[in-house]
Point group: C2
Chain length 235, copies 2
Amino acid sequence: MASLKGLGYSGGMDIAQLKAFPLFAELPDAALSHIARGATPLAFPRGALICRKGEFIQGFYCVLEGVVKLAFLSPEGHEKIVDLVHGGSSFGEALMFLDRPCPLYAQALTRCQLIHVRKEAILPALDRYSSLARQMLAGLSRRLHQLVLDLESYCMQPAAQRIIGYLLREAETHEGQTREVTFPVSKALIASRLNVTPETLSRTLSCLSEQGLLKVEGKRILIHDVERLRDLGPR
Amino acid sequence: MASLKGLGYSGGMDIAQLKAFPLFAELPDAALSHIARGATPLAFPRGALICRKGEFIQGFYCVLEGVVKLAFLSPEGHEKIVDLVHGGSSFGEALMFLDRPCPLYAQALTRCQLIHVRKEAILPALDRYSSLARQMLAGLSRRLHQLVLDLESYCMQPAAQRIIGYLLREAETHEGQTREVTFPVSKALIASRLNVTPETLSRTLSCLSEQGLLKVEGKRILIHDVERLRDLGPR
């Protein structure tokens, strides 16, 4: 994939644009002006590579508009999306504290307007304004928590994948867009058909339910998030 | 698994014990005394459960001595270790900012001495002392980065697992503890034998090498971390 550099906007960075981010919301104008001097607005067309895996990004990115995909490729060339970053959110903060290259690539999923904030502009503000540090701690904590949940999903064994595959197939055959699956026979029989123990079937369903992917009501399964379920299912 | 509550030490919390943690190293004694008042020393025997998955921990834990395992069980009952926390490190900080239950369980892998620090004791110090916020940001960033690398490993496809399985088998047969594998024939032939393309073999080896698990020197593979490789290999 070729790296397309963002096209810098003409003119300076408006502090009102920074204020729109929850991360910066509580900062006084003087602090925002300082950060603005270390910030560069960037525009990327859809599909453009914002940063490569292995690149040092020297700061972090705020997404003004559009959606950024953070992902990596498996050795076989399959893409795994780790996060989708929407307008009002940011990415890359963790790397500022690590002096490590980017473990993912960032690509514009839609036309994107971003702000790149240089490390030198943000670190002094972090030391001075505790609200900024608290917001950043909360943001990193949310992502850490989400990654642990993702890792849990990915560690599911083949049996779980068979169960997910079954649910996805049933959800598709039942009148197009419906997201409800009703087991036509007992759970024990379904388990047997899928070559898993009834305990594994129950535990897998509870686990998926805990993760907010579906809800179990007796023999009825209401699928809340087909996309994430598909992501976990057989490849 | 039964939850064994830690046995509280008699006597108060010594601020010298807190000072030993990099997290608290730059704090003045007054701040440490305040934190100490919200801190509880706990001792756990080997194997004891420190907190259950799903529990609200109301603060975070510092490990004075011993090793704590953070893990979850797959629906099939396989344990996946997410992190091992050694003396001088801490865990659970992210949950303080989220109001979410613990997504993992924490278990004493050895006899452990911990300090539980209550949220109410640490949050005011975080607002007041930027060094504490910076240390915590750095700690969360390190874990976030490591989790992304772990997720990458777990998303490896079956072909990668066959390659890892081959390396582990070869490393074992060659005189016991040696961690060096030499391809007896060309990489193209090895790839063919493993039913993967030569490109997949190369990419998998580079990927494992980037992660610090091994080093490739022509036909020689030096395995740096057999344990982690085993964790990624065929189950």
